[in-house]
Symmetry: C2
Amino acid sequence: MPQQRSVETRARILDAAVRRFAITGYDAASVDDICAAAGVSKGAFYHHYPTKQAVFLALMQGWLGMIDLGLGSARKDTVPETLVHMTNLLPGVFAAAEDRLPMFLEFWLQASRDEKIWKAVIAPYRHYQEYFAKLVDDGIAEGSLKPADSQVAAQVIVSLAVGLVLQGVLDPHGADWEKTARASMQILMNGMAKS
Amino acid sequence: MPQQRSVETRARILDAAVRRFAITGYDAASVDDICAAAGVSKGAFYHHYPTKQAVFLALMQGWLGMIDLGLGSARKDTVPETLVHMTNLLPGVFAAAEDRLPMFLEFWLQASRDEKIWKAVIAPYRHYQEYFAKLVDDGIAEGSLKPADSQVAAQVIVSLAVGLVLQGVLDPHGADWEKTARASMQILMNGMAKS
DNA sequence: ATAAACATACCGACTGGTCGGTATGTTTAT
DNA sequence: ATAAACATACCGACCAGTCGGTATGTTTAT
């Protein structure tokens, strides 16, 4: 049973880490930086986390879990309604994430090179894929979508979402991404909806 | 006027750099590593490039230029034909890029944090956007596509492409990305084509 | 000769991680 | 109650090694 002070310190480390990572990136953010930002000694840091990577991983787990939760609670009456509802949520996502989005990019990058991180990323990621595949299947079953390979359709949806988020990161003021997101979904629906 | 030997050395440095960057990433790839892989001394390295970042930038310019060129020569009779033709090219792109794709991710990441790199990335990137917008406009003009906001449509196409590439990086064996790319284009066409 | 091309030796800054020791609880024995 | 015994939390100096970049010398081509 950890002491009260302990959980507070952990939180401060995590909070400082996410800020530093977001600004400078994983590599450039030194443990000393993070400790300074957290107002915590290096000893405390390594008392709570075995390595710098462990902090990164903890951060990742937390976020991926939150996304998972958000997806689950977005369900509406019909499948098309659910999908449209999700695009309505996007602006909030963009606004809330803002400067943290580069970190997601970093997640991907690290995951593509580090076995341990890859496994931590890929599980929830595949879960999203499954979620959308199931959604498409439901849509087909309820007659609102044309019969199709739901796995592939889910991949398309996820690809589009990933691409939108990424471009939002790279070029936030290059377009009205909210509008684009809506238009994307519209085109997708045109292509997938029945009749 | 550079000597023959000089352009060869430059090429060897660039070639070694792309290999090291691809494997270990930009930060982890040390200049010494690159020099060793290129069979070139550190003096030679800094004789030809002022900084490590300059090498990175040169690499980027080269690739973005090549993509630009590839796009230009993909034009077919009608717009839908052109777009489909492009998905046919994708497998080659995936295969050829393979382990180099993480580098593109790194481009983005660095671009989102470094003003100089951002400017180098954003120009060709906007050029792609324009290319696709023009393509959509042509499609509307020739009557093969429904009237629509071509800028937004282009963003959707690019988003999808970006998302596909990114997922190909993260999870190369998680799906048949060639098939998904084709399906994406099919759905897009269903949504955008006239009648 | 001389200037470009290349090689070697080196510098100072910085990094992730360790370690001996201290301070702050918490449990146990009396 | 309280003091000894133990456990957890924390500190900050320190280390061994790495890095990007520079200074200086040598080779090569004209």
